[in-house]
Every structure is written in structure tokens, then in C-alpha cells.
């Protein structure tokens, strides 16, 4: 089956444009607030679709370098978490700290890019 058109980003863009440009100006109070939160959530979805796949590849590579073996991203991340908890990796470990910092920056780029500027 051919891929459905228009593609997901275009469809999402059209939905956000309607909410932002046509619906929002007609709203006040409760629904204005909830719609603002909804528009932000759709922005998160858009950025995640655009950015997450490449971030995940880089994240898995960093984790493999720290842990000394490869694997699925979720499993590698859980293993690093466990090593931190068990004290096998120190809280001062520079490679771990750099990895955590980069992973948080990646997530913020999706969830709330403005936080990085504050």
C-alpha cells in the first residue's frame, strides 16, 4: 500500500495551525488554558517524531561506550541506572555525567527547548 498522504508532520501542522490561529482567539479562561497545554503537547509530539530516532542512536552508542557492551537502548539505560544505584559507577564519573547531561539536553530539546536557555 502506498504511504498515506499528506504525511504526519503536515497533518499535525494543520491541526496546530487551526487550534492556534482560529480556535485560541475565541477562547477565554479554562478552555484557553487547556487548549494552550494541548498545543504544547502537540509540539512535543512533532519534535519527538523529528528528533528522537537520531538521538536514540547516539544515546545507545554513548551507553555502549560507558558499559563496555552493546544492546537495546532501554536495557542499556536501565543497566546504567542500576550501576549508579549500586555505586559501581561513582556519581563523579565524568563519562557518566557527560552522558546524563547530553540525554537531559536531548529530552529538553523535545519537551521544552526554552528551559535550556534559562
Amino acid at each position: 500500500m502506498p504511504r498515506s498522504m499528506p504525511d504526519a508532520p503536515t497533518l499535525l501542522g494543520a491541526a496546530v495551525k487551526y487550534l492556534e490561529e482560529e480556535l485560541m482567539p475565541t477562547l477565554t479562561g479554562y478552555h484557553r488554558f487547556k487548549t494552550r497545554v494541548t498545543i504544547n503537547a502537540l509540539g512535543v509530539i512533532r519534535r519527538e517524531a523529528e528528533l528522537r530516532a537520531a538521538q536514540a542512536v547516539a544515546e545507545a552508542l554513548r551507553l555502549a561506550a560507558i558499559l563496555g557492551h552493546g544492546g537495546e537502548l532501554e536495557a542499556l539505560s536501565a543497566e546504567l541506572a542500576q550501576r549508579i544505584r549500586d555505586g559501581v559507577i561513582s556519581v563523579d564519573d565524568p563519562a557518566m555525567r557527560a552522558h546524563v547531561r547530553q540525554s537531559l539536553a536531548d529530552a529538553l530539546t523535545i519537551n521544552n527547548p526554552k528551559w535550556l536557555e534559562r
Binding site: S77, A81, A107
Partner: protein, 336 residues
Amino acid sequence: MSDTDFASRLGEVVARRIGAPGTIYGLQRLTGGANKTTWSFDAEIGNRREEFIVQLSSAGATDQPNPLADISPHITGDQDALVMIAAVRAGVPAPRVRAILEPSDGLGPGYVTERVAGETLGPKIVREEKYARARSMMTAQCGAILAAIHRIDLAELPFLPYQDAAQLVAAQYRVADYYGLRHPAVELGLKWSAENAPKNPRRTVVHGDFRTGNFIVGESDGIRLLLDWEIAQSGDPMQDLGWVCVKTWRFGGRGPVGGFGKREDLFAAYEKAGGARVDPRAVRFWEAFGCVKWAIGCLRMGMRGIEETGIERCAIGRRIEEPLWDFLTLIDGRDE
């Protein structure tokens, strides 16, 4: 209970406990949750109209069993009132309690306080030009208010729960495990907190949620009232000085203290107002651990989002990295 029933019972309470005739005007619900509702009203006392708040707690009737209830123990509505009464006596601008409800009042547990006008919304207070004068006063006010809270005699409030820093960190580990969270940044935050928890601190009354957003602020006089005493506890007083600096509560304002002030000005005001000597390292610990605690709070809200309040709570789940980023910035020494 219908609204008219409620109004007439409330009127009787006011007449009996505060002053006759107790006629109620403008009763309106301000906030309501599963356990607690807040109403605002005016009442005729003698030949004057006075402004009040009534807070009702629903005695846990509709409360679902919560496996994490003991993580941040809430004191009950009546105890809440007792803490505020002790705080007012110590010179703290806490809500003035005018009546504590009794079973014979037929309204359930709760209390009536005087209502104070002003702004509570953090973003307005820290950013709007009309609050510039207030902001210039608020750091010194925070220092003086905290010094007064920390001087309250703990023996007056024996029901306040006590947990030291290590126990508070252990409680947050339990929340993370309850949700099956395996997150390297959260683990880093918890491990760092466990390793850096201050030992043998002083033990005082701690407000527990002392921050911008819980202050009622006036344009010309700054902090008029400190709200939200329901997680008051006994603990390390430095906890309150750290929590007010957590970046989330700066609401984009300038200055690490609440979005309006400098840490050293807060510490100086606290000491000048008779607070004990400030330990900046302990304050920094509480700010850093506060970030980790709030990150786990985001997780909790995000996880119960769809069942409870939908999109808004879900979106808070996606804020988990903000305080973790602030935590790292703080322990890296890159913060302001």
C-alpha cells in the same frame, strides 16, 4: 449537603464562634480537590462586613487507598489550623484562624480564616513591573519569616512528622521503584542526595512548601501572607531556605531566591532576624535534593494523569527533565 444548607450552617458557625448575626454573602468555591475544598465568603459581624476563607476536608471518605501516602505525610485539617495559630503567635504572616469546625457544626473537619487580598500567581509576581517594589522587599521578608517559623517551639506541635534528610531520600527511592522508573539522571540525583545528606542538623518546625506561589503579595508591601501549611513538618530548617531557591519556583524571574532575590541577601536577612547561622552547603543540598524531589513529583503527576485531570497532569510528566537539568547545573557549579 445543598449550597443553601451549607451557607446556613456556615452562618450559624460564624454567628456562634466569631460574631452575630453571621449573615453570609458572596459564598464561592475557590478550589476543590478530592480531599479538600476552599470557599471564600463575607459575613456580617456586628455592623461590619468581614472577609473570610473556609477550608473543608472531607474526612477521607472518597479517598482511594494510596500506597505512597506516607511519602509526604499531610497533617490533618485541624492540625493545619493549630500550626497556623502557633505561627501567627510567633509573628509569622500565616492565615489567622477565627474558628476551627467541630462535629456539632455539621460541616466536617475544617476551619475559618481571615481572607487577605493580593496576588499569588508566581509568573505575575516575578515578572510584572507593578510588583517591582514588592520584589525589592521580598528577600528580606523571606529571611525574617523563615527565622520566625524556625523559632516556633516544637513542643507546641508534637504531631508534626519528623524525617531526616537520609529518610527523605530513601522515601523518594521508594517512589521511583513503585513506578518501576530506571532513569540514570534520577538515579544520579538520588545517589548524590544520599551521599550528601547533612548530618546532625538542628531540628525545628519546617513549613515544607515555602516558595513563590504560596505567598500572597501586595504591590506596595510585598509578602502579606504565607499559605499552604499542610505539609508542615519537623526537620532541618535549611530545607526551607533551599526549597525557595529551586529554579522551578522562580517562574522565569531573576534571582535564585524565588525569582526575585540573591542567596546571600536571604541568608543575611535570616541571620539578622534571629535565625541561626546559615550553612550555605546545607542550603545547597536542600535545593539540589528539592530538584530531584520535584522531578519525581512530575513523574507521579504524569503517571496518574489520564485518570485524574487529563492533559494538564500528563504534560507535567514531560517536565521531569527540567528539575533534573537544574540539579546537574547546580552540582556542576554552573548556576547563578
